[in-house]
């Protein structure tokens, strides 16, 4: 039973609030749960991962994993904007349960008016390079690499290509073959193979929802998580520099350290601005036009760059202690790096965005950039 205090039904293509303008009940609820059950230091000390089940249970009871699923399909019907803000908060805590993945899966299923089941989900494919096909009998086949939290998922939301176009399906995870893997942030990133798997339910995707749409939604979700992780990396790096003493003064008093932290602030700011702008663009989009494409692709590219540059500075400021497994810094820095790879890397999106810009022509570049 899911009870969401904000219970409003908003679907894709509806007009929502901007992330920053959204009422923050969703975020406040989530932050309280994260603070209670996902404290990075507590989690980092817990070698048995006994924190995972209570955290997931609390998030589920609050209706958060199905934020993007309307009430009548079993979700809590939060707006796209509120869901994006929630993912930004999850990034600030480097949350390592399939929250983003289940949200995306619920969102994808809802596009075809498929109800979401209870429990953890993830989406297939999770890379623009992979493809699932559907045959005449409605059976699904294909191999997807780098699927986040596939091992933990009870169901997959699948986007499949068939003779009659694009379909969206709900698949029982037990019917797929899943090879376990870990990404650079030590979270599950698995290879899933579907070999003529019959879905629980399959429906035609509505116009305007295709693999690119899914990748951009996933990419913006990851961008917000990266931006959140960078905010926390800035926060703990500033705090550390004000505590650590070297050469008889706090290292925050050294100009070289100050300037490094100023650059980290810049990277954190750029990631936040790019990600929240893209989230706002999607939340208010009527269709996936070039402007929304620019926003979403640019967010993934810029946030991935910030993960590298900003995370590097956070480690430099911390010195050796930040390189230890006991310290919480890696929970943010490695996860931010890992998130770069999901739903299309920055290299992928840069090529695609570059092609779009080139095909529009030189004199249409500025009108695109200045479109909002």
């Amino acid at each position: 039973m899911r009870v969401a205090p904000w219970g409003r039904t908003r679907q894709w293509q509806n007009t929502g609030n901007a992330v920053a303008e959204s009422d923050n009940i969703v975020v406040e609820t989530a932050e309280k749960i994260f603070a209670d059950l996902a404290d990075p230091q507590t989690i980092n000390n817990d070698k048995k991962n006994s924190w995972q089940a209570p955290l997931w249970q609390a998030l589920s009871e609050a209706g958060l994993p199905l934020s993007w699923v309307p009430d009548d399909l079993g979700g809590s019907g939060a707006s796209l904007a509120d869901g994006f803000a929630l993912l930004n908060a999850a990034g600030r805590f480097a949350v390592a349960v399939p929250l983003a993945e289940t949200m995306l899966a619920g969102w994808l299923l809802a596009q075809a008016r498929i109800a979401s089941p209870e429990g953890e989900m993830t989406v297939l494919p999770a890379s623009p390079r992979d493809r699932i096909t559907v045959d005449a009998d409605g059976a699904l086949s294909g191999r997807c690499r780098g699927v986040p939290f596939a091992k933990a998922a009870k169901h997959f939301a699948v986007l499949a290509h068939g003779k009659d176009g694009i379909s969206i399906a709900l698949v029982d995870a037990a019917r797929a073959q899943t090879e376990s893997g870990l990404n650079v942030g030590y979270d599950h990133s698995d290879t899933v193979t579907l070999d003529k798997v019959q879905p629980v339910i399959i429906k035609a995707a509505p116009d305007g929802v295709d693999q690119t749409t899914l990748m951009l939604m996933g990419g913006v979700s990851r961008s917000l998580q990266i931006a959140g992780a960078l905010e926390s990396m800035l926060d703990i790096s500033v705090r550390y520099s004000n505590e650590r003493v070297a050469f008889e003064k706090k290292i925050s008093k050294f100009q070289a350290v100050q300037h490094n932290l100023a650059r980290l602030a810049g990277e954190s700011a750029a990631a936040l601005a790019a990600a929240t702008s893209a989230a706002d663009a999607i939340a208010n989009a009527r269709s996936f036009n070039d402007e929304v494409y620019l926003e979403a692709a640019a967010a993934k590219i810029r946030c991935a760059e910030a993960a590298e540059k900003g995370g590097g500075i956070a480690h430099q400021v911390h010195g050796a202690i930040g390189f230890t497994i006991e310290h919480i810094l890696h929970r943010y820095s490695l996860r931010a790096l890992a998130w770069r790879d999901d739903f299309g890397s920055e290299s992928h999106w840069a090529v695609e965005l570059g092609k779009l810009v080139a095909s529009r022509g030189a004199d249409e570049l500025w009108p695109l950039v200045a479109s909002r």
Binding site: N242, H259, A358
Partner: protein, 386 residues
Amino acid sequence: MTAALRFDPIRLPEKCEQLRKEVRAFLADEIAAGTFDPHKPNREDTDAPEFSRRVGAKGWLGMTWPKKYGGQERSFLERYVVTEEMRVANAPTRRFFVADRQSGPVLLKYAPEHIKMDILPRICRGEVCFAIGMSEPNSGSDLFAANTRATKTDGGYLINGTKIWTSSAHIADYMIAIFRTSPPTKENRRHGLTQFLVKMKQPGIKVNPIGQITGQYEFNEVVFTDFFVPDDHVLGEVDGAWKQATSELAYERSGPERFLETYYVLTELVRAVGPNPDTRSAEGIGRLVAQLHTMRRMSVSVAGMLQAGKEPVVEASIVKDIGTVWEQQLPHRVRDLAAFVEETATNRETLERQLDFAIKTAPKLTIQGGTTEVLRGIIARGLGLR
């Protein structure tokens, strides 16, 4: 959170987009009439007084100021649109740019009424050019080391000393400058400087042009010898200029001019690679566009916060830090990507000529209007490190 940086995703209101169309149409007409060539940023004569008057006649100068001073009482976001369109078109804005962005707002805040009534409407009409007198031979980033003296005399002050790197001083009608009216105190080394309005083109002021590595003459040395400034030209508190400088910097530091100065080479690169770029060019262009887009969204966000009456000083410094580093690197990245452009590309020569100029322009971008080092110091203070 220690930092709590904010970059709200501002959407420009509908009236901005209408205005943008008007500005584009105006600039297209000016280009057609031969006023300037948008593909030639390296023009030798950057002063365009007639163009300045025509921009003024459109109501696009001092457009946020009160109507009684000739302004339009429009929003900062509207001004933002005008500024970015002018910049992207490489329009010759030198004559009015400083007055519109910086000097006018200072006069609005600190000048006596009769001076406001005299000068502000003329800025709005595009008739007057301003310079800013900050740096001196021994005082650059360290503003409070300024030593050009303003000595009290009957009815005003006598100015003696030298300002340097003063852009547009050779064409300027006025300068807003800081001069030393008292020595610094032990407790506050920032004490003792006063902001003045200076009428240029008078005896007692000598302007010596200084050549730049781009081949242009834009900045100058300005020597004051017993130059008289009347009492009513003091702007704000005597000895208290340091209190006046900081909040206005957010306007100066976050505008589109802080990342668009070399933008033209990116447009020209896109033209050169054509509609079907190879993977390398596509990726390079995609990254640059993503970075550009992000900076513009940050910059628009700061403009929106300014419009809402906030003072995003740290955010503005971040925009200038990231923006100027980017526009400085841009010509070099474009050069990398242009290495394999087809010999047959029709704009090859234009691109090469532009790159040549942009590469020579690049070093100044992280120095003018507050060096990268100064900006990072401000950001560090905002983070609670100083």
